[in-house]
């Protein structure tokens, strides 16, 4: 974007049209960016460092913040950090003494300058305390998507696709400008998108068809689609060669539900139709059977903890056959009764999906011929997190797999990785591993290596093997468990200690997580909080020090862009863009990079800090084969000097040493890009090149890992994760999510019948990941959007309750109540209520006066409502009571 400055004041935001033809949205920024001017000059900003004078923390305690100098603030913090270093970075419970929490989706990383380098130089940091990670993001998709096809996020190959089945994926609201542009172009091209969700979101509005499915029953719909494809359509409508050659479908499964393996090599076996025998999967010159039951003369299987069985003349069937048999029970009629979409409609959608799949067709991309399968299935938050999410992400991936549309042009593709390295190139992270699949770093579950003692307060390496152990893994673990266990640990689990110091930035867990009243009290129990504060808010209300970082228009950072990244960020260029200060920071606000450098210096870890920057903790390594712009480890660098070197390093790297541009060049030009092959949007060529198969449909490894995890947990006397362990099925069983919820309500001591409606949430472009609830402009323009600040309710349901537009109501869940005004709509299921966004503020200026309701207050944090990846979903059983008619 560009910023117009008049008399030293930022006064207008404009798109950066220099990026036309480079940026997929041609340089346009979304509505949130236009709030950056008000964000800068918001009179409620914290503009000077502050320290707390009231030692008591709580919602009803006035923090008594008083202004202090930067020197005092930084010395106070660094004295504490030095003391921690002297005590030891890990406490007696084996947990890091310093914790840090950042907000949504990696966005804060683009604003915190070189602070990641400080964190890296510090040593072990506990990122477990989430601000909504796992329940507010597409959690199961993150984890399983990466596992199956290096897809931390999954999207349609929109420029090439022709048919999209979208279960609640609200790309028009949350996909960013690139998604909006691409899908608008797709609509003009005649792409049909069927949006399946309980209410008519913006995406449903912009789709060809809307199917109002009952909340959290998407798994039934998808299982029925799979059933129809495999039991009611011809095999020739599927991509049989893809299944045979690129997936684990032909692998033979034995009586224990494990792959049958060649005894010596332990390679999974397939059936060779020519020799009529079972041979290792990578044997050349064979004709592999995709389906069938066979007798295998000699094999082993390897179960949990190396529990090996040996077989002779054993019955086996292929993974594909097991899939077909497994899906026989999931009929469209059964699904219709569950999800409230007619069986005929499910059949029609499936038939249309198959019709559009173009089996056998090819397309040329960057000189290479690839399969062309223009059908995609996308999932949204609430579908791909919480109970039932495993079913859904598996089913979606299998739907793609069956027609060969996984990771090919037109189909369902991934965008980036966060658990596998390198994060900047997901294709490079796909390397051959065991059994013909990609090597995937699961957290160990064997007796020797399992993390019996948690290394972080959400116990991600202990409880969630699939989340791995990258720099992002902990923040992607079951982050609400950190909060829950700190308050109330379950049986045979040590109560986690609180960290000695907790950094928090661009994050407000007291608002953005579940059970927010209780969560705020948990935040209050933190011994020492350093909050990078934009305005006072419900979390930094409990802080000890507030630090005003320079915001969007006031600071410097070089940010990677392009290639493939996050939702529909699929470019034909890659490079870097500079955020430069349009104006001087207001008040005493300082650039985050300066803050990070000062903290590093005062804490005595400057060398580690500079080394981390050199390695790329600021976004770009400063040294490569072409260049060396490294920082000298023991020198204190100014902000501009650091970024100047980063600019030079980046341009040298991207241009293979042919161009070097510093900060001054970027100040004039804004960004630097080089071409990025569209071919690299797809993982398929990499799979072919390395002769790897997608680990689908049968989840033999997860099944085994689940057994091992069960063994480990039971050995410790831990049975409170047993329900979650049931998800480690090789082929998922349909999870009755709504019944799970009802049983959870009963366990809370309440009667589900007293809460007859389902409350869900939805996002809006104006607020999603925006950190902008206190921006008046956003509220003003949002009032044009149906449902803003309201509880969306079906018109007939409302009339039956005697409700009119804007009447006040009270929503009650088993744990809390909230009030809000209703907005009547025909675009909502009669049994469902929808609350957009996350409000309910009581401290954030401007936002607190809006008096908007929030689902978060009503949603419990509960193990019963947590799936095996540690995620939950925005769905709550509620009752609704009219309170007051609108004035």
């Amino acid at each position: 974007m560009k910023v117009k400055v008049k008399d030293g004041v930022a006064c207008e935001i404009l798109p950066n049209l220099d990026a036309e033809g480079i940026h997929p949205a041609n340089g346009r920024c979304c509505v949130k960016a236009y709030g950056a001017v008000q964000k800068t000059y918001n009179p409620n900003r914290v503009l000077t460092p502050m320290k707390r004078t009231n030692p008591n923390k709580g919602r009803n305690e006035d923090p008594g913040f008083v202004p202090i100098s930067w020197d005092e603030a930084l010395d106070t913090i660094s004295d504490r950090l030095v003391a921690i270093r002297e005590k030891g970075l890990i406490d007696d419970a084996g947990l890091p003494r310093v914790a840090a929490t950042f907000g949504m989706g990696g966005t804060p990383v683009s604003y915190m300058g070189t602070f990641p380098a400080f964190l890296s130089a510090w040593g072990p940091i506990d990122f477990s305390f989430g601000s909504g990670q796992g329940v507010k993001c597409v959690h199961a998709e993150h984890l399983y998507g990466e596992y199956w096809h290096r897809a931390f996020i999954v999207c349609a190959d929109t420029p090439h696709t022709r048919y999209i089945v979208s279960f609640g994926a609200n790309v028009e609201a949350t996909g960013g400008t690139c998604a909006v542009t691409r899908h608008a172009d797709a609509r003009i091209r005649g792409v049909k998108r069927v949006e399946i969700e309980p209410h008519m979101s913006v995406t449903a509005a912009a789709s060809s068809e809307w199917l109002p499915i009952k909340p959290k029953t998407d798994n039934a719909f998808m299982f029925a689609m799979l059933h129809i494809m495999l039991h009611e359509h011809s095999r020739y409508e599927l991509d049989l060669s893809y299944l045979r050659d690129r997936t684990a479908s032909p692998y033979l499964v034995g009586p224990r539900g494990l792959y049958l393996r060649e005894p010596k090599s332990r390679k999974p076996l397939v059936w060779d139709l020519d020799s009529k025998s079972a041979v290792p999967f990578d044997t050349s010159g064979i004709r592999i059977a995709l389906e069938g039951h066979f007798k295998v003369s000699n094999a082993i299987d390897v179960g949990a903890d190396e529990d090996t069985a040996t077989y002779e003349d054993v019955d086996a069937e292929t993974g594909m056959s097991k899939l077909v048999a497994h899906l026989a029970q999931y009929t469209p009629e059964g699904a219709a009764a569950i999800c409230d979409v007619p069986a005929a409609t499910i059949r029609r959608i499936t038939a249309e999906y198959l019709e559009h799949a173009c089996i056998g067709e090819t397309i040329e991309i960057d000189g290479m011929t690839l399969p062309f399968r223009p059908v995609a299935v996308t999932l949204g938050k609430n579908v791909n997190n919480g109970w039932g999410a495993y079913d859904c992400v598996w089913a979606r991936t299998v739907l793609a797999m069956l027609v060969g549309a996984l990771e090919v042009p037109g189909g369902t593709i991934g965008t980036t990785t966060r658990l596998n390295r390198p994060q900047s190139n997901r294709l490079k992270s796909a390397k051959p591993g065991d059994d013909g699949f990609m090597a995937t770093p699961l957290n160990p579950t064997d007796k020797k290596n399992w993390a019996a003692t948690p290394v972080g307060r959400n116990a991600h390496t202990t409880l969630v093997p699939i989340v791995g152990n990258s720099s992002w893994s902990q923040a992607l673990g079951p982050t609400h468990l950190a909060w829950m266990f700190s308050r109330n640990p379950p049986d045979n689990w040590p109560k986690p200690t609180y960290p000695d110091l907790w950094f928090i930035y661009r994050s407000n867990p007291s608002i953005s997580f579940f059970d927010t009243e209780e969560l705020a009290e948990s935040v209050a129990r933190m011994p020492y909080i350093v909050a990078f504060a934009y305005t006072p808010d419900e979390s930094n209300h409990m802080a000890d020090i507030l630090l005003p970082d320079a915001t969007d228009l006031e600071s410097t950072q070089l940010i990677r862009m392009g290639g493939t990244k996050f939702v529909e960020q699929l470019w034909q260029h890659q490079g870097v863009v500079l955020r430069q200060p349009a104006v001087e920071p207001c008040g005493e606000a300082r650039d985050f990079t300066w803050i990070a450098t000062e903290l590093a210096r005062r804490t005595g870890i400057l060398e580690g800090y500079n080394t981390a920057i050199n390695r790329g903790a600021g976004g770009m390594p400063l040294k490569s084969e072409h260049h060396d712009f490294s920082l000298s480890p023991d020198t204190v660098y100014e902000v501009d000097e650091i970024w100047d070197r980063a600019c030079k390093a980046a341009t040298a790297r991207y241009s293979n040493g042919t161009e070097v541009h510093g900060l001054d060049w970027f100040e004039d030009h804004g960004f630097f890009v080089t071409p990025f092959k569209q071919l690299d949007w797809y993982l398929y060529p990499t799979m072919v090149e390395h002769n790897m198969r997608f680990e689908l449909p049968y989840q033999e490894r997860l099944f085994r890992v689940g057994q091992e995890l069960k063994n480990r947990l039971h050995e410790q006397g831990i049975h409170w994760w047993d329900q979650q362990l049931e998800e480690y099925a090789a082929l998922p069983h349909w999870c009755d999510v709504l019944d799970t919820w009802d049983r959870a309500v009963e366990k809370m001591g309440a009667d589900p019948k007293e809460y007859p409606l389902w409350l869900i949430s939805t996002k809006s472009m104006q607020y999603a990941s925006g950190n902008n609830v206190s921006i008046q402009l956003m509220d003003e323009v949002s009032r044009n959007v149906r449902g803003h600040g309201r509880i969306l309710i079906n018109t007939a349901t409302a009339r039956n309750l005697g409700l009119q537009q804007d009447d006040w109501v009270e929503l009650r869940s088993p744990i809390a109540k909230t009030r809000g005004r209703v907005a009547l709509s025909e675009g909502v299921r009669p049994d469902t209520l929808v609350v957009p966004g996350q409000f309910g503020h009581w401290a954030t200026p401007f936002a607190k006066d809006l008096k908007f309701p929030s689902l978060n207050k009503l949603a419990p944090m509960s193990l019963d409502l947590t799936d095996s990846t540690g995620s939950g979903a925005d769905i709550v059983r509620v009752s609704i009571t009219p309170v007051e008619h609108a004035a």
Partner: protein
């Protein structure tokens, strides 16, 4: 002849309000005043529902009802079809506002600020006291158009000479240009799509077209 018109492709619009916000910043309009605004409309009954996003604002009609009723002559119609307001002349009687079937005009009696009683720094710079006490509305960014034309640029083709809402539109829904020029983007777009205008029974002949489908087959 030149007649500038706006085209909104309803197939593309997602109601994100980016144009609403861009217009507000470009023109320094006070809180509540939205010269460009996108409506969020629902049609039908559950489950047969549609939701449409409709960019609105001044339609720059060929027969503008606001023009005749204006007692001061502040509302003027240019040769290129743009209906403009001379804020130095307007007395704020709001006769134009009650005459406009599209609700495009705003009259603000006293300056309000986004946060309380005092202006923020950007409001101090952006605040135009000429907008208080008078009628105001979208003027197709007439200053930008005039400056652009003076430089030899073509409004609707060259972003520098094009209204801010069009430049800001993420989905490519908004287009602008001279409908009397058969080679303009808008002329070609309208030639290959099906479209309508609003409240045409009022005899206003609006200069705002709404596309709803591709070419009729």
């Amino acid at each position: 002849m030149t007649r500038y018109v706006m085209v909104a492709d309803l197939r593309r619009c997602v109601g994100c309000q980016t144009c609403t916000a861009a217009c507000k910043l470009a023109n320094g309009t006070p809180p509540g005043v939205q010269w460009r605004r996108v409506l969020d409309m629902e049609v039908g009954e559950y489950p047969n529902v549609q939701r449409v996003f409709l960019p609105t604002g001044c339609q720059h009609c060929a027969n503008p009802p606001c023009l005749d009723v204006c007692p001061s002559g502040a509302t003027q119609q240019r040769n290129d079809g743009i209906v403009n307001i001379d804020y130095d002349v307007c007395i704020g009687c709001a006769n134009c506002a009650v005459a406009c079937p599209y609700g495009a005009r705003y009259v603000v009696d006293e300056q309000q600020y986004a946060y309380g009683d005092a202006p923020t720094d950007d409001e101090v710079v952006n605040f135009n006291p000429d907008y208080v006490g008078v009628a105001s509305k979208c003027n197709f960014c007439v200053d930008v158009i005039d400056e652009g034309v003076a430089k030899g640029l073509t409004p609707g083709e060259d972003p520098e000479a094009t209204p801010r809402c069009v430049n800001s539109c993420i989905s490519g829904a908004m287009s602008f240009g001279d409908i009397d020029d058969p080679e303009s983007t808008v002329s070609k777009l309208l030639g290959e799509t099906q479209h309508y205008r609003l409240k045409t029974n009022e005899g206003t002949c609006p200069g705002f077209y709404y596309i709803w489908d591709g070419e009729e087959l």
